[in-house]
Structure formats: C-alpha cells, structure tokens
Amino acid sequence: MNADRTLPGDWHHGKIPENVKIHDSAYIQTTYSFQLFRSEQPDAIEVGEAASIYLGVMFDMGRDARLSIGSYALLNGARIICDSEITIGDYALISWNVVLMDSYRVSMNAAQRREELRTMPLRSSSLAGLARPIRIGNNVWIGFDSCVLPGVTVGEGSVIGARSVVAEDVPPFTVVAGNPARPIRKLEPYCSSQHA
C-alpha cells in the first residue's frame, strides 16, 4: 500500500478505507474490492501477515460489519456479504465466486420485508439483530461457487467441495460437498512429526 492508501499498479482509482488494517506483508490486488465497503467500525477489516486478496473479492460490508482475515489466507474472488462478523482463519483458501454471507439483509417475514423495501436506501445494511456471525477455521479450503450461510462455523482443516451450499456447521478435519453440503469423509488431523 502507498502512503496515500492507494495500491501500486491498481486499475481502479480508489483508496483503502482508513478503518482497514493491513499487515505490511499482505497483498491486495485492487481497491475495487472496497466498492461496497461501508462499515463504520474502528477496525472493520484486519488482514493478517502474508495474506492475499485477489481480483474479484468484494467486501460488501454494512455499517456494523467486521471481518478478520488470518495469516497466509488466500482469497480469490469471494463475495463477502457481512453485516455482523466474519472470521477467516490462518492458511484458509477461498476460491472464486464463493459467497460468505452472515445476513439475509432483509427480514424473512414477507410483511415486514415489504415495510423495509418501501424505505430501503441503495446498498443499506441489514437491520440490527438479523445477522449471525460466520467462522471459517484455520486451514479451511472452500471450493469455487460455494455459499456459506449465516451462522455457520467451519472447523479447522476442513474442505468444502466446489459448488456446495453450507447451511450447517462443519466439524474440524471433514470433507463436505453437495447442495446442501453433507460430510463425505474425515481427514487426518496433523501428526506431531509433520507439524513440529
């Protein structure tokens, strides 16, 4: 990041918002990713050591949203729809067109939704209390086109197959796939010899 919060070689003429904290060794490809960023939280996004955020990632974050991205995490074109809190662990790999959403943005009650739609400004945040935080553990790999729904926790070391829709929590070291996603098999947790 340059001193004026622009990015070297950026095709989009934007800046990294002041309330986004990025580790010196992390990489962000374009400020276009902040086109829909409107969080007013003090440290709305924290990007860890050597994390990378490539073209196509969109931080669609409402007023109260917070996002933390772990060290060595790699995001390649994810749509992050966040109104409360999303945590992405260290070494996580998030593929293209993945949707991580902690909120449905409008009420799921049709009558109430009508009221909201009558007065909804462009790109508003969801109403307080509607959003449920998402946690993506360390070393999780999410395949392309997958969706992770509000309130879901994905345990450490797990793999989400491409085009899955994750509506329920995923235990650690588990492969899940399908729409809705179901467990397929277990993975071996780290051996002390491999991870000394």
Binding site: R79, V99, M101, M108, A110, L117, L122, S164, G178
Partner: protein
C-alpha cells in the same frame, strides 16, 4: 437528460433503450446493464416504481420481454430472457442469481450441430433451430439468494424463499423455503 423517466444512476452509455419504461424513483446502476439488451419488442422492459436494480444484467433477446413490479430490489442479478420473465412486487434477488427462460441451445444432438453452425462466423443469416423457451413467473414477496439459479417454465409462488445456491427447475408453492440442487422444500417462510 431532462426526461426523469430516462434518468438512471451510473448509466454511462447514453439514454436508456427506447423500449424500456421505468416507474418513478426507480434506480438502475452499472454501465453494463443493457450491454446485452437486444429486444425488438415495443415494451421490452417495463419496470415499476421505487425499484433498485443495482448492477443487474438485462440480457434480453430480440423477442424477449421483462416485466418487474414495484419495490423490487435486485443486486447483480443475471436475467437471461428470450421470451418472458415476469416479477411481482417486493421481489428481492441476490448477487449472481441467474434467471433464464430458455435452454439457449437445442437438446437434440443433430439440431445442436445446426445451431453451432448458425451461431458460428460462417453461419451468417442462417436460421437457428427452434430452442425450448417457457416464461418464468416470480410472484410477489419472493426472496432469491445469491448464486441461485431459476430455469425456464418455473413459477415461484408468492412469499417463497429460495436459499443461496439453490437450483430451481420446477414450480415452487407459495410460502415454501427451498434449498439444494435439485432444490427441496425445507420449510415454510415465516
């Protein structure tokens, strides 16, 4: 632009197509919104009032017609229309959800070869074979999540909720909550 019905936010490639009619206080963003809008129908897109079309793709073929009611909010929806898409009032559609009223190409292998030739640079003026098309109807108060896909001939009943990533190939009863590929009823919307 002086005519208020011609005015949209972020529409940077001149006025709206002449066969587009939009209601009061409706917003359309994104300069690509009408990049693939080829309809020759007199009222090809009729949009109600107080709608938000934020980054929506209106990919409409020569015979396509889209009708959208009032108070709808679409975010980056992809509308692929060769015949007819009809949306009621208070419909919400999320990012990258795709709605198509056509198969795009014939299913029959021999016809598909004819179609490939007609679509090729060598196929100038050659008639494409008949391609299956059926209108899609989305009733009032339907909510469609990001990455969902709605295929041709489907009617989604009032108040139904289509969870993110779902694939809908059959009619959805009013008030149902749908999830999966193929989508199943997982409950009712409150």
């Amino acid at each position: 632009m002086t005519d208020p019905t011609r005015q949209t936010e972020g529409w940077t490639h001149g006025p709206l197509p002449a066969n587009v009619r939009i209601g009061a206080q409706t917003r359309i963003t994104a300069d690509y919104a009408f990049k693939r809008f080829l309809s020759r129908q007199p009222e090809a897109l009729v949009l109600g009032s107080r709608c938000t079309m934020d980054g929506v793709h209106f990919a409409v073929g020569e015979q396509g017609k889209i009708e959208i009611g009032d108070y709808c909010y679409f975010t980056n929806a992809v509308l692929l229309c060769e015949l007819q898409l009809r949306f009621g009032n208070y419909v919400v559609i999320g990012w990258n959800a795709t709605i198509a009223d056509t198969d795009f190409h014939p299913i029959n292998p021999a016809e598909r070869i004819a179609d490939a030739i007609a679509c090729s640079p060598a196929g100038k003026g050659r008639q494409r074979p008949q391609i299956a098309r059926k209108p899609v109807i989305i009733e009032d108060d339907v909510w469609i999540g990001p990455n969902a896909t709605i295929l041709k001939g489907v009617r989604i009943g009032a108040g139904a909720v289509i969870e993110p990533g779902s694939l809908i190939t059959r009619d959805v009863p009013a008030g149902a909550r749908m999830l999966g590929n193929p989508a199943q009823i997982i409950g009712t919307s409150v």
